[in-house]
């Protein structure tokens, strides 16, 4: 200790002459830093109400609640997060995890109220002065809290698949499936979109947990066609997936297939258990497609005796006779059907109703009849020359291929149509051409431009890989036939526009841009319809119709109380819709066949 230790403290006196360093009016003068984690904002145009913010909030500060004027629609629950600032700890995990980037934070931090309940509010709905604040916490450019890219599906390369009908999609292995399943946030927005309302988040969780038996049970609760849907479902669920907003949607379809691929068929049958005791009621189902067999499965499990009449030699309907084997192998389909027949469903093959047995007979013999005949008749453009024998319809050709009939494979051909069926026939014929002649000469012409093709984008991509010559915006004008009656090709005009300003079909052609596409065969793949001739004139007259289709009530029942109808023939083409329809009519029939208990 020295004299300086006595004196030096007095240097503090120099501060006498300093200005205060505190900010005089911090409430007005001090904006939060650019990254400040202040009050929440939520962009109502982007928010989909998936509730992932609520899931991650470790404080339980977020509630998901309906908001006036925001209805639940596909892909948006209509709920919006309400935040309780009595609990919020400003960690911003809700912002980081937000699936759409709608939930953000402003750099505002001052909010004074005398009523504490006002600190519970719905950002974006309850208007606040910081709603338009430009600064505030930004999550880092790359979203880190979950992977955004889909696990790549192993597929056969074009060279490896082009000369055969071997399945292209290889399926995930367990590790890949777990990684893909891991990406799901279990919000459940997809369930409402799935026509069968499958328990998607739950079965994805089963994949994560590696509990495939549980997965199979979940699948069979809503869908006996998991092999089929796991491969060729239109997967509209993926369009409602929360993950699609800032990345790839979860590969829901492939995960479904993965589950069913993991469990042997005998185990599947064991897992879903035995049907209920026989009820003594008999149900006839016309058509062994997804709708008919789903209804058959449900009804058989409820104890009813079910007989399915199928005109073809094998079951599956359009999934077998319309979808090429490289997309849906027949053995996969067979496995689904085998589980259904294991429930006691009897399928009578090669029995064409209307020819081999009449509707009247079915009405007399059964307690209920389901008409699930699909859309097996191809539409024609009816352009000049389209009645030439070498102008064929895609559905007929595909059916012949499946049935193993010999087809006179043309060296060159033209397909009319831009839907999946057009792609199916083009790719199938390309394979046959390669097998027969060693080269592919298939031209596909579609009315629509590429941006508006009806086919799945992946179908177009794979068709191009498989050397299909796809020409968009070509309107068919005539099938060109020479003087000897030989088909030379298809004459098309350029389509200038296909829809008018109001999105209505109003094709405009440019006759100056005329092309003739060479082809020994022309295949029309523009549309399909149901062949309802099996009904017979009397029943046709008795039934009520609705714009060309049999009229049904919401449960699938027709105006004849013994007859239900389901699937493509009443709802348009879609596998998963057919499955959903099958359930619907099965439930309705079960109710009709079961004596109602008196209600008090």
């Amino acid at each position: 200790m020295s004299i300086s230790d006595v004196l030096s403290p007095f240097t503090a006196w120099k501060n006498l002459f300093r200005d205060p360093v505190t900010i005089k009016d911090p409430l007005n003068e001090r904006p939060g830093a650019a990254r400040y984690r202040g009050f929440h904002k939520n962009d109502m145009d982007k928010c989909i109400g998936c509730g992932t913010c609520e899931t991650i909030c470790q404080n339980g500060a977020i509630d998901m609640l309906p908001v006036e004027g925001i209805p639940a629609v596909q892909g948006d629950s209509g709920l919006r997060p309400r935040i309780d600032y009595g609990r919020c700890c400003w960690c911003a995990l809700c912002v980081d995890v937000c699936m759409t980037g709608s939930l953000t934070m402003s750099n505002e931090y001052k909010w004074v109220e005398s009523d504490p309940d006002l600190f519970r509010f719905t950002p974006g709905v309850d208007k606040k002065y910081w709603d338009n604040a430009e600064l505030g916490y930004q999550r880092h450019d790359e979203k880190h809290l979950m992977p955004v890219a889909r696990e790549e599906m192993p597929e056969l390369h074009p060279e490896a698949r082009l000369d055969s009908f071997v399945e292209i999609v290889q399926g995930y292995n367990i590790e890949q499936a777990k990684l893909e399943a891991d990406r799901c946030v279990s919000c459940g927005l997809c369930i409402a979109t799935c026509p069968a309302h499958m328990a998607i988040p739950d079965y994805i969780k089963a994949v994560r947990d590696g509990d495939y038996e549980r997965g199979v049970q979940l699948l069979y609760e809503t869908n006996p066609f998991s092999q089929v849907c796991g491969r060729v479902c239109t997967h509209c669920c993926e369009d409602s997936c929360a993950a699609r907003h800032e990345g790839d949607p979860i590969a829901i379809r492939w995960l479904k297939r993965h589950i069913i691929d993991q469990v042997p068929q005998e185990k599947v049958i064991e897992l879903i258990g035995k049907p209920a005791a026989p009820t003594g009621k008999k149900v006839a189902i016309i058509g062994a497609g997804p709708a008919g067999l789903t209804a058959a499965f449900d009804l058989a499990r409820l104890g009813h005796a079910v007989t399915v009449y199928e005109a073809q030699a094998a079951g599956g309907g359009m999934t077998r006779y319309g979808i090429p084997e490289y997309r849906l192998p027949y053995n996969a389909l067979d496995r689904d059907i085998a589980v259904i027949t294991a429930m006691g469903v009897e399928i009578k093959y090669n029995q064409r109703v209307g020819t081999d047995i009449t509707m009247q007979q079915l009405e007399a013999d059964y307690d209920a009849v389901v008409l699930a005949i699909g859309l097996h008749q191809g539409r024609s453009t009816r352009i000049p020359g389209s009645d030439h024998p070498q102008v064929r319809k895609a559905v007929d050709l595909l059916r012949q291929i499946t049935a193993g009939e010999t087809i006179d494979v043309p060296k060159s051909m033209v397909v009319i149509g831009g839907g999946n069926v057009a792609m199916d026939i083009a790719r199938s014929m390309a394979r046959l051409q390669l097998q027969h002649y060693g080269e592919i000469r298939v031209t596909l012409t579609a009315l629509e431009d590429k941006a508006h093709f009806l086919a799945d984008p992946v179908e177009i991509k794979e068709s191009l890989e498989e050397q299909i010559n796809i020409l968009d915006s070509r309107g068919p004008q005539a099938c060109v036939i020479d003087d000897n009656g030989k088909l030379l090709g298809l004459k098309t005009w350029k389509v200038l526009s296909i829809f008018d300003a109001e999105r209505r079909f109003a094709p405009k052609y440019d006759p100056a841009d005329e092309q003739i596409h060479e082809g020994e065969m022309i295949v029309e793949a523009i549309g399909q319809m149901a062949d309802v001739s099996l009904l017979g004139d009397a029943l046709t007259e008795k039934l009520e119709w609705n714009r060309g289709r049999i009229q049904i009530d919401p449960n699938g029942r027709t105006s004849e109380n013994w007859l239900w109808s389901a699937g493509d023939c009443v709802k348009g083409p879609d596998v998963i819709n057919a499955v959903a329809d099958g359930h619907r009519v099965a439930t309705s029939i079960h109710r009709a066949l079961t004596p109602q208990e008196a209600t008090a």
């Binding site: 939060g32 880092h140 979950m146």
Partner: protein
Amino acid sequence: MFELDRSQYPQKKADGTLDIDLTSGKYLKLWQGPQHPGITGNMAIELTVCGDEVVDATTHVGYLHRGFEKLMERRTFMQCFPIVCRICVPEPDFNEYCYAAAVEELAGLEIPELAHWIRTLILEMGRVNSYLMYLGGQAGAFGQGVIGQWTTYVRDLMLDRFEELTGARIYHMFIIPGGVRDNLPDGFAGRMEETLREIESVLADVDRVMFHNAVFKKRAVGVGVIDTAWLDSYGITGPNARAAGVAKDVRKDQPYLVYPELEFEAVTGKDSDIYTRADVRRRDLLLSLDLIRQILSRLPKTGAVMTKLPNVLHWKIPRGETYVRGECSRGEYGYYLVTDGSGYPRRVNVRGPSYTHSIALFERMVINANISDVAALLVSLHTYPPEIER
């Protein structure tokens, strides 16, 4: 009898309890805290005094128990992230770092280089804050209120830097499992340099007014000596150990983050009294300012700040256990994490240096101290009660 060995008074019975008669009128029970201004945070000391000499002391904690360790057992690994910082208010970042590092180790995650640098930067910034608060508290314990005003002012400048870097002033929630949340904002190094200079200028004043102050020296020199023999017995770490001449500094002993690449020596003292501990912390604070400069001049300018995580909503970590430590301003801070393969921690145990410093060690040191020195003694151990009771 006091002239000989004061630690022999009061005498103890064979079972170790005091051989005193509390009803004799010779002794007084005196409570200091939990709201006493000389107490660090929410704790209380139950003193038994004889005259103005402390003959027995019991620390009481629990005023701030929030059960974080238990709360974490029902939160997912990512959900634990926002709550760990709340275990220690003045220097929350060690919780974030130790927790994140433990999770990353058990989950097998490698974090990007840049994140290591930014984490180190954050930890040093937090150390500066913690020491500035301590200096004010230590001076305040001797009645020098002005020091606290100065250090709080410059601490506030550092909080501004925290705010612009992390988006928050106190609970930064920035060192996240997987990395850090963002890169430095534009112009950060320049503004940090201004802040560092202001801190240095204030520290020069503190040096003159606090450390070269006859009153402070009179009160602090030779008081509250920690015997080096106690270090292991009481688990003493950090400046408390370094002031006793043992260069215990995790940054050197078991280097983590980017410390191996930084140039520094552990700051030590030798007298192990209140003054030396304060001085060690002052010099350690200057070291931190230097480390911040080193980091800012050497860290990569660009690069990823976070590694790719699995979906954190159902992130599971295989069964395992680990311990991750760091050198915080008060000593060894560590997280013992046990996982069981589920999506939740099986057990998280937080080792805060205050745990041993403010209970076992303090209860021993305070015996025979003067009542007026109790607060200064406690502050000189630099303890934060929340990390005791977690």
